[in-house]
């Protein structure tokens, strides 16, 4: 109220509006980027996967396509422990050799396997699905829960990590919405692992972040008490 303190002239109105609009847009963009970045970095830090579709190279190329699709082997043929205990278990070299002593001559990958077997060595696979130490995931309980359940196909989308779609795909190609399906024991694996039979290199299809687990648990009336998985 003291004259003489301020000597500022009034700016043109359209300039003011432009500044205001630019300012607000800039702020919103900044806020959104900051939020997304925070969320992503924080959720990435100790989680198994950041971006879906990451299929690591393995020391020996193991095509699930051939073994599952063409030969029709069941998952439990190699991952024997999956119906018995917490871990699905990686098959021993001996198990591979029960077939490959005879089969597969001439393939470089199988020669690698035979070499390892001859040296009585172990194969160091690159882990694809990893749960952090503070998570107890029991394969057996999940397989038991899902095998033999019936469900109605509700929606079919393109995303591979939609639980109902993967189930439907496994059970019956081209299932229709509204159709009722039974899940076979071996079909349960693909609920989380995707259709491994079609994978040349195994990749992780679900995020396997905690939200993923919790959503599924809620959907299926499974316990969501923390001690179910964390102890």
């Amino acid at each position: 109220m003291i004259p003489g303190d301020f000597q500022f002239s009034k700016p043109p109105k359209n300039k003011l509006i432009l500044l205001g609009v630019l300012g607000s847009i800039g702020f919103i963009v900044f806020a959104v980027i900051a939020l997304i970045a925070t969320f992503h970095i924080s959720s990435w830090i100790d989680k198994p996967i950041v971006f879906a579709g990451e299929a690591p190279d393995q020391p020996i190329e193991f095509p699930h396509t051939i073994h599952v699709q063409e030969l029709g082997l069941d998952c439990t043929f190699c991952h024997t422990n999956v119906t018995k205990g917490a871990s699905a278990s990686i098959p021993a070299v001996n198990l591979c050799m029960s077939c490959h002593t005879q089969l597969g001559d001439g393939s470089t990958e199988i020669e690698k396997l035979r070499e390892i077997h001859a040296k009585k060595d172990v194969i160091q696979w690159t882990r694809v699905h990893r749960m952090p130490d503070h998570v107890r995931f029991i394969h057996e309980a999940h397989v038991k829960r899902f095998s033999g359940t019936r469900l109605v196909v509700e929606k079919i989308t393109d995303s591979t990590n939609q639980i109902r779609l993967t189930e439907a795909k496994t059970i019956k190609a081209g299932a229709k919405i509204g159709e009722t399906l039974d899940i076979a024991a071996s079909g349960t694996c693909s609920i989380c692992h995707g259709d491994v039979s079609k994978m040349h290199k195994v990749e992780q299809v679900r995020t396997l972040k905690m939200s993923d687990c919790v959503d599924c648990h809620r959907e299926n009336d499974a316990p969501t008490d923390c001690t179910t998985c964390h102890y």
């Binding site: 003291i2 303190d5 301020f6 009034k10 939200s211 919790v214 959503d215 969501t224």
Partner: protein, 457 residues
């Protein structure tokens, strides 16, 4: 009684803007030194994160130490700003005018210091964001029963409100600087002052916002330290904490320490900016001194009540705690120091008008209060935890480590650094407020005497 010093507007502008428009020689070294402390403190913090909290002196019974003490201390200091600006504004105490800005800025920086202390305190600082309700996927939300969830919301609200307060009061002053500088600086100040042109409508809005904020922030003001006190008071298992009078006790303690800090800050301002003594005058200190006598005595009553209530039941663990607090070395020494510094030395000093108007004595006495109030928090937290449980088997003690001391120093350096930076770019004395005061200036009659309006309340 001091006479009025009538200043014209140019004088006011020159005095108040001197810090912004000219850089004193000591400014850069001071900034560098405080920045050095900040860097050291942060380095200590990263060292602590890397090695774990083992590098602190914390141990099994005493899980909270220097960091929480410091947190409470800075929250306490932050109560000065609202006390001075909001309450005194609402009660129309004229003498507040030159010191409002300083008090508010002190509030903002001490709140910032307080807010990053919990980050030092927790075991996994990179997870601290979990106390905010952000988690949309896991469905795990913060526990709203925990005072540690109330804390960030209360302190956050308080910080936003105080920052708004500062900005609102800064607008006219920024416009003045804008018009006294050229080039880029002028442009920046131009943006910052949000197009202030001093129109009557703007003045009206600014005044209304000021009053509204003052009124609205009062509940926050009360809640912040109440909530901080509940960090302790909700725990039934710790003797010396589970007290029902903690909330008002903490608030009045906060005002005690906060107003003292403002007084200290005022003295420093009067020392280091020449010409300030024509705006910030000893009668302001006089007024603050009188206010402090009231506050300190009220606070002392609460202190007495707290101890009296605690010992009233004559429970064994409580007695053990008080025994430790009052009679066992080193707490006994600290307790005596605390009583002397926070009440028994400063309050009798303030009784004398000469003391209230003497810069060095006010400086010493108010610094003493804050040393005492820091000790008060220490004496509430540490001995209580050391004698936490009735299981004498688990009693312990606590000695801070060098890392903790460095990190605590960092918060002090941070506040000083912030104030220095602020003083370089913004006037610490609210020009418009003083000019407004000149306009409202009056003399009133008390009995036969005519006294300046600045102490009319």
């Amino acid at each position: 009684m001091q006479e009025h010093i009538q200043l014209n507007q140019k004088e006011i502008n020159d005095i108040a803007l001197s810090s912004v428009l000219e850089t004193p020689k000591w400014w850069l070294p001071a900034v560098l030194i405080s920045f050095g402390f900040i860097v050291t403190g942060l380095a200590a913090f990263f060292y602590m994160v890397y090695h774990g909290l083992g590098v602190t002196g914390l141990n099994r019974p005493v899980f909270w130490g220097f960091f929480i003490v410091n947190f409470v201390f800075w929250i306490g200091i932050s109560h000065a700003g609202i006390m001075i600006s909001a309450i005194l504004r609402l009660t129309q105490a004229e003498w507040r005018r030159p010191i409002t800005r300083a008090a508010e800025v002190l509030t903002v920086f001490s709140l910032m210091a307080a807010l990053h202390t919990p980050l030092f305190h927790v075991g996994r600082p990179w997870r601290t964001y979990w106390v905010f309700p952000y988690d949309f996927s896991r469905g795990v939300w913060p526990n709203v029963r925990s005072p540690f969830v109330w804390d960030p919301s209360a302190v956050g609200t308080y910080l936003i409100a105080s920052t708004l307060f500062v900005i609102i009061c800064l607008l006219p002053d920024l416009a003045i600087i804008r018009d006294r500088t050229t080039g880029l600086r002028s442009k920046i100040y131009g943006i910052l002052c949000l197009g202030w042109r001093g129109t009557p409508r703007q003045w009206k809005m600014q005044t209304i916002v000021g009053i509204l904020l003052s009124a609205l922030v009062l509940p926050v003001f009360v809640s912040v330290h109440s909530i901080v006190s509940w960090d302790f008071a909700v725990i039934a298992g710790v003797e010396g904490w589970h007290s029902t009078i903690f909330a008002p006790y903490f608030i009045i303690g906060a005002i005690h320490s906060g107003v003292s800090a403002v007084a200290t800050f005022m003295v420093v301002m009067m020392w280091i900016w020449k010409g300030n003594d024509r705006i910030l005058r000893p009668d302001h200190l006089d007024a603050i001194g009188r206010l402090l006598i009231i506050v300190a005595t009220t606070w002392f009553l609460f202190l007495f009540l707290e101890i009296a209530f605690a010992l009233f039941t004559l429970e064994r663990p409580e007695i053990a705690l008080r025994e430790l607090q009052f009679f066992k070395w080193p707490f006994s020494g600290l307790f005596i120091l605390f009583l002397l510094t926070s009440y028994f030395i400063p309050v009798p000093m303030w009784m004398f008008k000469n003391v209230r108007r003497s810069l060095p004595l006010m400086f010493i006495s108010t610094i003493l209060v804050n040393i005492g109030m820091w000790l008060e928090r220490f004496l509430i937290i540490i001995p209580s935890l050391a004698r936490k449980t009735p299981f004498a088997f688990d009693w312990g003690s606590y000695t801070p480590s060098i890392v903790e001391i460095l990190i605590v120093t960092e918060t002090f350096a941070f506040v000083i650094f912030g104030l220095l930076m602020f003083s370089k770019f913004f006037p610490l004395i609210p020009l418009f407020d003083i000019k407004e005061g000149m306009v409202f200036r009056d003399e009133i009659k008390i009995g036969r005497r005519t006294v300046p309006a600045s102490i009319r309340e």
